[in-house]
Every structure is written in structure tokens, then in C-alpha cells.
């Protein structure tokens, strides 16, 4: 049971968060950090600074010393100028949501953000945080862009929605922290955790087609073709790449086209999550080998195909199988 101050603090924080959400409404891409949604408060360092300046003003009056007093006033003024600069360091930035990179349970899901700075003033040390946890810090050049990333590690498969994150900065003097709360519409998927390797996919009807006479057909090198995203890494002709001729993929003639059908029913005695994990493992492995596959699930299925888009579709089907969304 948390202590009373803790509970009060948390209640206050939740209240503030609700108020901010009500005040701002949901955010739509692109999100511009306009003036009235940037909040600013002194940091502990800033409070110490204020105390120091107070003591200096008092001392200057006590000793009737105008130079000391002037120095104290210069520091007081410096603090206020720094406050404006901290606020200005955030103001006017634009955030765009990139495609989130889904991942398996236990792996980090990456929510990419494109931060653009339309102004002629470089922005230093922009922090991105999930709750209290600092996720990444970036600098955005003048009239330029930079990428930030928020990572979430899901512990359950399904839809993972990034509900709220914080953009903040303490630059230049660290005396103030300006921040904006963002409520994006930003979801990604947590795919099932892949099972251990070992279980081979069962031979399904039509599981293997085409020539499969010469076993592993990777021997007969037939030539190179340009790399396309999604090609298995181990087929890349690294030697060619090293010679500076660009990324190419080795092609083999006569290699057997092995195809699979990964079927829910073939894993009959296993519980639901174990089946999904196993199917996930097969999908990932088949994709890595570059073999076409189909997925059969109760009430759903993905037809035979290959490539990254196909893999995404299959993994999404697995992630969302009888699942409700999770929230971050």
C-alpha cells in the first residue's frame, strides 16, 4: 500500500494529466508545438538558483554594496531570460509520426517521430519521454529535421497504443524545464513471442511443390539481381558490395521452391498462446529463408505469398487473434 503523500501526489498528477488532455484534445498529425500548449516550471536547479539570487540581493542590501547588488540583479534577469529561451527552444517544432515498427512481445516496439524545425534557429537538447522515463534526446538543426524514437516493450501481444508522451527541454541553463504533452493516435502491434526453434512445420497438403530433387538447391549460382527490401540477408552478395557495386542478391537456378502452409489445427493439443508462438516462429523463419508460406487460423487466414508485406500481414493476424488492445 503506497503511503498517503504518494497517493496524493499520484492523484494530483492524474488530475493534471486529465485536465491537460481535456484542454488540448487529441493530437492530429502533424503536431505543432504552439505557444499555449507548452508548459514551463523551474527545475530543482532553478529553485536553488532563485534562492542563491535572493541571498545575493539580501547580502547586497545588507552591505549596502551596489556592485554586488547589480551582479545579483544581473543573475536574476539572466534567469528570466533563460526561461524565455527554454520556452522558445520548444516553441514552433513540428512532430510527425512515422510508421511504428512493431515487434514481438519482449522486444522493443519503436515509435518513430520526425521532428522538424521550420525556424532559422537551431534547437538543442530536445528530450522525449514516456512518463518519467527519458527515451531519447535530439538536436534539431535550423530549418532541418531530426528523428526521435520512443520504445515500448509489450508484455502481451495485441495492439499497443502510444497514448501519451512528453517533449521537453531544459536548454540553455537547466534552470527551467519546458514541456508539452502529446496525445497521439499512434498504434503498433506486439506480435506473439516466437517459440523456441525445433518443431518443424508439418507437411501440409500442397506443402511442398515444384522441384525438390536436388536437396538444397543453393548450389547452382545463377547470377545477381539488385537487392530489394525484404530479401534474406544471407543471400546478399557481400563481396560485390565490398567492391562498391551496390547491394545485390545472389540468385540460384534450380533451387527448390519450398512452400509452407502453417496451420493452426496442426498444433492441436497446444494452448492458444503456445500455438500462436509456434506459428510466429515458423513465419519468421520462413521469411528469413525467403520461402513462400500461407497461414491458416480459425476464422482467418493469409494466402500463400512471400515478402515483407506478407510477413507483416501474417504477424498482424497472429497478434490480433482474439485479442484486445493494450495501452501505453
Amino acid at each position: 500500500m503506497p503511503s498517503l503523500p504518494d497517493r496524493l501526489r499520484r492523484a494530483a498528477r492524474e488530475r493534471t494529466e486529465r485536465w491537460i488532455r481535456r484542454r488540448q484534445g487529441p493530437d492530429r498529425d502533424p503536431i505543432e508545438l504552439v505557444r499555449n500548449r507548452i508548459y514551463i516550471l523551474p527545475t530543482p536547479l532553478g529553485l536553488t538558483y532563485a534562492l542563491m539570487v535572493f541571498a545575493m540581493v539580501g547580502g547586497g542590501m545588507n552591505y549596502n554594496n551596489n556592485l554586488a547588488l547589480g551582479f545579483a540583479f544581473l543573475l536574476a534577469s539572466l534567469g528570466l531570460v533563460a526561461m524565455h529561451h527554454t520556452h522558445g527552444n520548444l516553441q514552433g517544432l513540428q512532430l510527425r509520426l512515422r510508421q511504428a515498427r512493431s515487434a514481438c512481445v519482449g522486444q522493443p516496439i519503436r515509435y518513430g517521430l520526425l521532428v522538424s524545425n521550420p525556424s532559422a534557429r537551431a534547437r538543442t537538447r530536445i528530450e522525449f519521454a514516456l512518463g518519467k522515463e527519458l527515451a531519447s534526446t535530439i538536436d534539431v538543426p535550423a530549418t532541418g529535421e531530426a528523428e526521435a524514437e520512443l520504445t515500448v516493450t509489450a508484455d502481451r501481444r495485441g495492439r499497443v497504443r502510444l497514448e501519451r508522451f512528453i517533449v521537453a527541454t531544459r536548454y540553455p541553463l537547466g534552470l527551467f524545464r519546458a514541456w508539452a504533452v502529446i496525445h497521439p493516435e499512434y498504434t503498433a502491434l506486439a506480435w506473439p513471442r516466437p517459440a523456441q526453434r525445433g518443431r518443424t512445420p508439418p507437411g501440409a497438403p500442397g506443402g511442398r511443390t515444384g522441384q525438390h530433387a536436388r536437396g538444397s538447391g543453393d548450389d547452382d549460382f545463377a547470377g545477381l539481381r539488385p537487392y530489394q527490401p525484404g530479401d534474406p540477408l544471407r543471400r546478399i552478395a557481400w563481396k560485390t558490395y565490398a567492391r562498391g557495386r551496390g547491394l545485390h542478391v545472389q540468385q540460384f537456378s534450380g533451387s527448390a521452391v519450398v512452400t509452407h502452409v502453417f496451420d493452426w489445427d496442426s498444433l492441436d493439443p497446444l494452448p492458444i498462446e503456445a500455438r500462436l508462438s509456434q506459428l510466429c516462429r515458423w513465419v519468421l523463419d520462413a521469411h528469413e529463408r525467403g520461402e513462400p508460406y500461407a497461414l491458416r487460423l480459425p476464422g482467418a487466414g493469409v494466402a500463400m505469398d512471400s515478402g515483407p508485406a506478407h510477413r507483416e500481414r501474417c504477424l498482424a493476424a497472429l497478434a490480433l487473434f482474439e485479442a484486445e488492445g493494450a495501452r501505453v
Partner: protein, 650 residues
């Protein structure tokens, strides 16, 4: 380890800021404190560059305990500027031993700020201004560096960033300085400053004044309301020395003689005297002071004007004096006895000379003239470097060496007068002063320090007699440098001989005077005067508050506007501007530019999505392409593009 690597560039800046802030304290600090800071700084720097491990915890604990004890032992206190500074420097040294995170560096920057502040408490002359600026620039740069993290700004960028912040801070700082209500301190005890300052003392041995005159420091500045009195009337009265042991002259302390009134003759002189701090109570008023701020100063029985408390800050006094006067027409018997007292065994020949003068001259004034004639006509020399004299200094000076500075002449004259039965005493102070034509005021320096005599004559009271004037009239009329032999070095000789250098020093003094008058002495009264000059009738603290609030608001608005202007998007060329306008208009048709979509492509896509606009959009595309990528932008194309965009009605 990576954390420490990230600290590296900031550490250099912090050490630099700390060093500059400590520098002015070094002469006042015990050597071991400075040494400890240097050692800690060097060690921390090497720990960073050589990847040494940080100090173990037990070592830090031992050093903290030892240092605190040592400060307590040295100063017997941890309060006050002296002990406080030593403690701050030690804290900085100890913090360096355990600096591992950016927060520790911030603490060090705070210590540097406090150190700079402490040095202003110690001394607020104009010479501190460069330190203030350097300190502010470096500490701010260091703090920016601490908070710019991984991105490594160039030193020049840092300096510019820091300079920009400070420049923007200056207006509000000025406003605060001018308008922030001053509470008259002190609220808590001020330590009595133990630091010795150059200046007159209430004791005088042969050689003291001549040593003092080697200093070129300003003692005070004087502004006369009307015509300044001639040099032979410019005697600035300091401590009066009435007791002697034969060698040394002392101010008679604790004697309660009834004060005798001063009666002015002729026209009084009004003037303002601005004293540099000298830690004593003397207000060096012109002979004889007649009017002063009665609450702040008192006139002693020997006509020395005394401030209510030691002068530790620059203070100004509005005074009125009578150059011609009758002071102390009556001489109380106890004072008469004291002013005739001579030690029994000392200076027998001088005493004999005095008695002889008394028997030969019935009129004391005739004795005075005879004595002065002796100085003038016999081979007496006026020099800053007289030979050393022994236990009977007056005898040796009068009859053997015959070389002396003003204190020798004043002391000898007073001894002889007392022996002749004329009540006499030594008066120290300053004489003359250099006129600064740029500022219209007189500068009186330590090198103008002087000693003369005062004798009491029935019916005329205390009369000033300057035996130096008999030997070296130039000293009184034209200053020390003109009075000394040409081969003798003296302060101000270069000023005197090189006219350009003379002008430079006078100009510099004018700036210092301005600093004293306008900055150091700025107070509540000056604040209210300022408001009055700005048109506020009968200003009070409430008016100060309103003015302050108004300035704050204006400052915040200006800063916000400046930042908004800084944050504005850069101005686009006309083609891009009109293209943007097209995109904004297309938004109503649900056409948005996709990330990564080129300017031409989006127009083409729009033409496909909205066939009714296709013709116009494609023409806009062509015009845009021509303007943007064509050989030379011409006005006609820009005009057509503008018309097309304006005509676009989605």
C-alpha cells in the same frame, strides 16, 4: 565510463569559470586553501583525461573534515566575507573531488557565482567591472555547456550564446538596479574590516607620511560649489596629534576637553567631498569645517570632523568651511597643559632652542617667525628620502641631518614651540589636490598627505603654521612633485612630465568618479530623484513598484517578440510561397502533401484527384517549374504564377 566522457568538455569550462572567480580572492586567502583548489582542479582534470578513478569515499570524508576544521581554526568563525570565501573555495575543491554528474558541475558553477559576488562585497571599485563581465560570461557559458549534453558546441558558439543571454539580461538588470526598492541595511552584523588600507593613521613616526605619499591612490574627491580656494588654503584636516614621546606623535585619546566654537571670517566655502573607504572615521574637511550633516558626523574638540562610523564605503559629504576663522579663542587650562607637554629627556637641544627663542622674543609670533627663518635660511632640505634618525629624532634633524619631509618639519617645529611656551600640536591630513578639468573637481591622493603645525595664540585661537612652506613653498603652491628635487622619484612624476599621460589619468579618474557618484553611491534618494526627473510627482516606493512592474511587462513582451521573430520560418522564395498557397487551398478538397512527396508530384496528383482543376493545376505546375528550375527567374513568370494561384477556386 561513458558518463565521464560526456562531462569532459563542460569540465574545462567549469574549471575556467571557477579559476577566474577565485583569482581576486587569492591575495586574501591562506595559501593552503588556494593550493588545495589548484590541486583538486588539476587532479580532476587529469582524472578526466587520463581516465583515473575518482577519489575513494574515505579520502573525501577525511579531506572535508580536515578542511572545515582548518577554516574554523584559521578564522575562529565561518561567518563573514573572509571566512566565507575560504569556505567557498574549499567547497569548490571538495566538490571537484566527487564531480561525476552534470549536476555536480552545476553546483560548481553556482560556487563560482558566489565567489565573484564575494569579491564585489570586498571591493566595488570600477576595476572590478572586467571581473564581473568575465565571470558572468564564463559561468554562463559553462552552464550552457553542462546543459548542451552530447552536442558539442564550439567555444565561439558557447561564448556567443552566453553573451547573447547576458546582453538580453542587461536591460532588466539595469531596471532592477534603478528601481528595485532599497532597504537601508544592515540587517545583520557587519564584520569590522581587518584588512589594512593605505591612509593616515592616528600615530606618526618620522618616515610615516613620506611612506604614505609614495601611494598614488585616490583619498577623496572634492567639488566646490563656487570658486575653489587657492592652494595655500587647501588644507584637509585629518587626525590631530597632541601627544609625543619624543619620537612618535599620537592622537590624544579619551581626553574630554570642552569643544571651543569656530567663528568664521569672510565668506564660507561650500563643497562636496567624496571619500574613498579608509576604514577610519575622519572626514577630511577643509580647515575649518562649519556646517555638516549633524546626524552623520561630529566635530571633535581638535576640530577634526568625525563620521558616525568608520568609512568602509564610498561616502559623500556636503560641507561648509571657513578658510579664515577664529577657532578656540579660549584655551581651557587642561588643554593648555597638554599642548605644552614634552617628555623630560628627549630632544634636549631642540628644547634648549625653544627656551632660547622664548627669552629672545617676548611675542610668540616673533618666535614663530624666527623658527621659520631658521628653516628657510639655513641649509634645510625637503626630501622624500631623509636619512634615518635615532632616539632623539628632532635633535638629529634640526642640528645634524637637516633633511626631512613634512612630518620632520612639523614635529620639530611643534617641539620647539612647546619648549618656547607656545601651545602647539601636529595636524595631519592632506594638502592641495589636483584639479581635473574634465570633471571640474579636485582629486586628492595619498601622495598629497601632509603634516603641519597648529599653535595657539591669545586672541587669535589656533593658527595654522606650515613649516614645510618655509623650506619648500612649491609643496604648498604647486604640489609634491614640483617641490622635490628633480632627480628624486615621486608618484605622479610621469603625470607631471608627460602631458598625454596626465590627460589619460585625469580621464580615467573622471570615469572612476562617475562610477562612484552614479553607481556605488546610488541609493533610495537617487532612485526617487530619478523618478522625479522622469515626471513622477512626489514619488514614493509605490511609484517605484509601478515603474518596476511596467518595465517587467515591457521586457517580457520584447523578449517574447524577439524569440517569436527568431523562431519564424525563413522567408521563402516567391515560387515556394505561391506553391504553399496552392497547397493550403487544396486542403479543402482533401488533398494533402504526403511526406516525401515532391512539389511537382503533389500538383500532378492533385490534378488527377480533382479533374475539374486539372488544367489550372498543370499550368501552375509548369509556371512553378519554370520559376524554380528555369534559367533565370523573370518577373513575368512570377506574375503569371501569382495570377493563376489567385484565380484558383477549388
Amino acid at each position: 565510463m561513458s558518463e565521464r566522457a560526456a562531462l569532459l568538455p563542460a569540465l574545462g569550462w567549469v574549471l575556467l569559470a571557477l579559476g577566474v572567480a577565485t583569482l581576486p580572492h587569492v591575495p586574501h586567502l591562506p595559501v593552503w586553501v588556494t593550493a588545495l583548489l589548484l590541486a583538486a582542479g588539476a587532479w580532476r582534470w587529469l582524472a578526466q583525461t587520463q581516465r583515473w578513478p575518482l577519489a575513494p569515499r574515505w579520502l573525501r570524508t577525511v579531506v572535508v573534515a580536515a578542511a572545515t576544521l582548518a577554516v574554523l581554526f584559521t578564522y575562529q568563525t565561518v561567518n563573514g566575507v573572509q571566512a566565507g570565501t575560504a569556505l567557498l573555495v574549499l567547497m569548490a575543491a571538495l566538490k571537484l573531488l566527487e564531480t561525476r554528474a552534470p549536476r555536480d558541475l552545476s553546483v560548481l558553477v553556482f560556487i563560482a557565482w558566489f565567489l565573484a559576488y564575494a569579491s564585489f562585497l570586498r571591493n566595488q571599485t570600477l576595476s572590478q567591472l572586467p571581473l564581473l563581465m568575465a565571470s558572468a560570461l564564463l559561468t554562463t557559458a559553462a552552464l550552457i555547456r553542462v546543459h548542451s549534453g552530447r552536442s558539442v558546441p564550439q567555444p565561439r558558439e558557447l561564448a556567443r550564446g552566453s553573451g547573447q543571454l547576458l546582453l538580453q539580461a542587461v536591460p532588466l538588470a539595469l531596471v532592477l538596479f534603478l528601481l528595485f526598492p532599497r532597504l537601508p541595511g544592515p540587517f545583520w552584523g557587519l564584520e569590522t574590516s581587518s584588512s589594512a588600507r593605505t591612509g593616515l593613521d592616528d600615530e606618526m613616526s618620522p618616515g610615516d607620511v613620506s611612506e604614505l605619499t609614495l601611494s598614488d591612490e585616490v583619498a577623496f574627491r572634492v567639488r566646490f560649489a563656487a570658486t575653489p580656494p587657492p592652494p595655500q588654503q587647501r588644507y584637509w584636516r585629518g587626525p590631530v596629534l597632541g601627544e609625543t614621546d619624543g619620537r612618535r606623535w599620537r592622537h590624544a585619546r579619551g581626553s574630554a576637553y570642552p569643544p571651543q566654537p569656530v567663528q568664521g571670517l569672510g565668506a564660507p566655502v561650500d563643497y562636496q567631498i567624496t571619500l574613498e573607504p579608509h576604514s577610519r572615521r575622519w572626514v577630511f574637511a577643509l580647515d575649518m569645517p562649519a556646517q555638516w550633516e549633524s546626524t552623520a558626523a561630529t566635530l571633535a574638540y581638535d576640530y577634526t570632523l568625525l563620521a558616525g562610523k568608520p568609512v568602509t564605503e564610498v561616502t559623500a559629504w556636503q560641507l561648509q568651511s571657513y578658510p579664515r576663522y577664529v577657532a578656540g579663542a579660549e584655551l581651557p587650562p587642561s588643554l593648555r597643559t597638554a599642548m605644552l607637554a614634552l617628555p623630560a629627556a628627549a630632544n634636549p637641544r631642540a628644547v634648549a632652542l625653544g627656551r632660547e627663542l622664548a627669552t629672545r622674543n617676548a611675542d610668540p609670533l616673533a618666535a614663530v617667525r624666527a623658527m621659520l627663518r631658521m628653516f628657510r635660511e639655513q641649509s634645510f632640505e625637503y626630501t622624500l628620502q631623509p636619512p634615518k634618525v635615532g632616539s632623539n629624532p628632532t635633535d638629529e634633524f634640526l642640528f645634524t641631518t637637516r633633511q626631512g619631509f613634512c612630518e620632520h618639519y612639523a614635529a620639530a617645529f611643534t617641539v620647539v614651540m612647546r619648549a618656547a611656551g607656545v601651545p602647539a600640536r601636529v595636524v595631519t591630513g592632506y594638502q592641495g589636490g589636483e584639479y581635473n578639468p574634465y570633471g571640474g573637481y579636485f582629486i586628492v591622493r595619498q601622495s598629497d598627505a601632509h603634516a603641519w603645525s597648529e599653535i595657539w595664540l591669545a586672541g587669535r585661537g589656533w593658527v595654522r603654521v606650515d613649516p614645510t612652506a618655509a623650506v619648500a613653498p612649491e609643496r604648498v603652491n604647486r604640489g609634491l612633485v614640483r617641490a622635490l628635487p628633480a632627480d628624486e622619484s615621486a608618484p605622479g612624476r610621469l603625470r607631471e612630465s608627460n602631458r598625454l599621460w596626465g590627460s589619460v589619468t585625469l580621464g580615467w579618474d573622471l570615469i572612476n568618479d562617475f562610477w562612484n557618484e552614479r553607481v556605488v553611491r546610488f541609493d533610495t534618494r537617487a532612485q526617487l530623484q530619478l523618478l522625479e526627473r522622469l515626471g513622477v510627482r512626489n514619488p514614493d516606493w509605490r511609484a517605484l513598484g509601478y515603474a518596476l512592474a511596467a518595465c517587467f511587462a515591457a521586457f517580457f513582451l520584447a523578449l517574447t517578440a524577439w524569440l517569436a521573430w527568431q523562431n519564424r520560418p525563413p522567408r521563402l522564395d516567391p515560387a515556394a510561397r505561391w506553391h504553399g498557397k496552392v497547397l493550403r487551398r487544396l486542403r479543402s478538397r482533401g488533398i494533402e502533401r504526403q511526406p516525401g512527396e515532391g512539389p511537382i508530384a503533389v500538383l500532378e496528383r492533385a490534378a488527377e484527384t480533382a479533374p475539374d482543376l486539372a488544367e489550372e493545376l498543370l499550368e501552375i505546375r509548369d509556371l512553378y517549374a519554370a520559376l524554380r528550375y528555369g534559367p533565370a527567374s523573370d518577373g513575368a513568370t512570377a506574375m503569371r504564377l501569382r495570377m493563376r494561384v489567385r484565380g484558383l477556386r477549388p
